[in-house]
């Protein structure tokens, strides 16, 4: 009887087992371009490690299921080292946090460098690849990066920019991207991690399987930091998701509202419970 039940269960489950395996991405290798290089083509969600379809902003969070995330704080799955700020910069960044990031450039619809966008799970990111270049399209602020793969150095006429100038090359199966040419107006990571025009970022992208890009960025800024630091996240393939328009300044009431709030910051100021180092 027991054996019969097992056989019946196996027969019933057999048709869906390959689907389960596929949805978990366990056995699907990273695709390759005709020239043998890894192919990053696709739409991805950052700040999460779960394969499958697009998921809500907070991993595992579903409407109708009361959780702490519904009613309190949400967190990103991106990891970052402690930021080795110079003392003056640490003080400045801590004050940004004390004011609950009200001065975040994104509240004025200004984007930040790619390590920030890659840790955001709310907006998809699309990779478009040819043998000579990779283009990354960001729904967050509708910005883009063009990464040539056949240039050894940056041009000598770079203007200050929010997303910087990128050049890429392959190290085995890893795409390594060097970014420079930044302005000093963005935050390289959320939570007050501001930067100067000396910002230099080295990114490493590895598509470890069909569903996953491992992303790691080394962030250097000799005007703000005492040493480089790293941040990392996985970016998960989201088949069936498409990038949409996000024209942030359309009706950005927040600029005026936040300026009014800043007239009396004591109403929302936080006091750090641990003294900054």
């Amino acid at each position: 009887m027991k054996k019969m039940l097992l056989v019946t269960a196996a027969l019933l489950l057999a048709p869906i087992l390959p689907l389960v395996a596929q949805s978990r991405g366990a056995t699907r290798p990273a695709p390759r371009m005709p020239d043998g290089k890894p192919d990053f083509t696709g739409v991805y969600q950052g700040g999460t490690s779960r394969p499958g379809e697009w998921e809500f902003q907070v991993p595992g969070d579903q409407p109708g299921v009361p959780t702490a995330a519904t009613q309190s704080v949400a967190t990103s799955q991106a990891r970052r080292d402690p930021v080795p700020f110079q003392p003056w910069a640490r003080e400045k960044a801590q004050e940004f946090l004390n004011l609950r990031s009200i001065n975040d450039p994104t509240s004025r619809c200004l984007p930040g460098p790619s390590p920030r966008s890659h840790s955001v799970s709310l907006f998809p990111i699309q990779f478009v690849q040819t043998p000579k270049q990779i283009v990354i399209l960001y729904e967050y602020f509708n910005v883009f990066r063009i990464i040539p793969l056949d240039q050894k150095s940056h041009p000598d006429d770079l203007e200050p920019s929010f997303m910087g100038h990128s050049i890429g090359h392959w190290e085995g199966n890893t795409l390594v991207v060097d970014i420079t040419g930044f302005n000093d107006k963005g935050w390289v990571l959320s939570g007050g991690v501001f930067h100067s025009d000396a910002l230099h970022i080295t990114e490493r992208y590895t598509r470890t399987d069909y569903d996953t890009i491992n992303y790691e960025a080394t962030i250097e800024d000799k005007k703000v930091l005492t040493a480089p630091f790293k941040t990392s996240t996985t970016m998960m393939l989201r088949e069936g998701t498409r990038l949409r328009e996000y024209i942030c300044p359309e009706n950005n009431e927040d600029v005026l509202r936040l300026e009014k709030l800043l007239e009396n910051p004591e109403l929302f100021r936080r006091t750090p419970t641990v003294k900054p180092q």
Binding site: V58, Q71, V73, A74, L97, G191, R244, D254, T273, V274
Partner: protein, 141 residues
């Protein structure tokens, strides 16, 4: 169910302590809204704005003294709402009855940051992000 709920909260708190980086949004939640002032309101939709960087729902809400107050609720931008399951002129219509879980603005009643909405048929959807988005941790890591 209760154990499951406690487990979820425990896992979430563990995640916060291990990773610590708050999810970000277009702007600071905490400068404008008060996470200590959650509120659930039911009313009639008077206006729906599909606009960036925030969509808004306006509800007429009957107060205990019988007067009606119009509240404004801030939420996700149109791209996120569409991906979350909202269809323009289908999911929400002027005149519909709606229940909204939200956090009140520090400026007082009348403005709130919407999170979960419940349609007349009981279906629940997220209209806005969780509390705390965009404000960062209290202390630098």
């Amino acid at each position: 169910m209760e154990i499951n709920s406690k487990l979820r909260v425990g896992v979430l708190l563990l995640t916060i302590s291990l990773l610590g980086a708050r999810v970000e949004a277009h702007h600071s939640f905490g400068a404008e809204y008060d996470a200590e002032k959650p509120i659930t309101l039911k009313g009639i939709i008077t206006k729906i704005e599909w606009a960036n960087p925030h969509c808004h729902i306006y509800l007429d809400i009957k107060e205990t003294n019988g007067t009606v107050k119009n509240w404004k609720f801030e939420g996700y931008p149109p791209n996120v709402l569409a991906r979350t399951g909202f269809k323009k002129d289908v999911t929400l219509k002027v005149g519909d009855t709606l229940t909204i879980f939200a956090w009140q603005a520090r400026s007082g009643p009348g403005l709130a940051h919407a999170r979960e909405i419940t349609l007349a048929d009981g279906k629940k959807l997220y209209f806005g992000p969780p509390a705390g988005t965009g404000e960062g941790n209290a202390v630098l890591p």
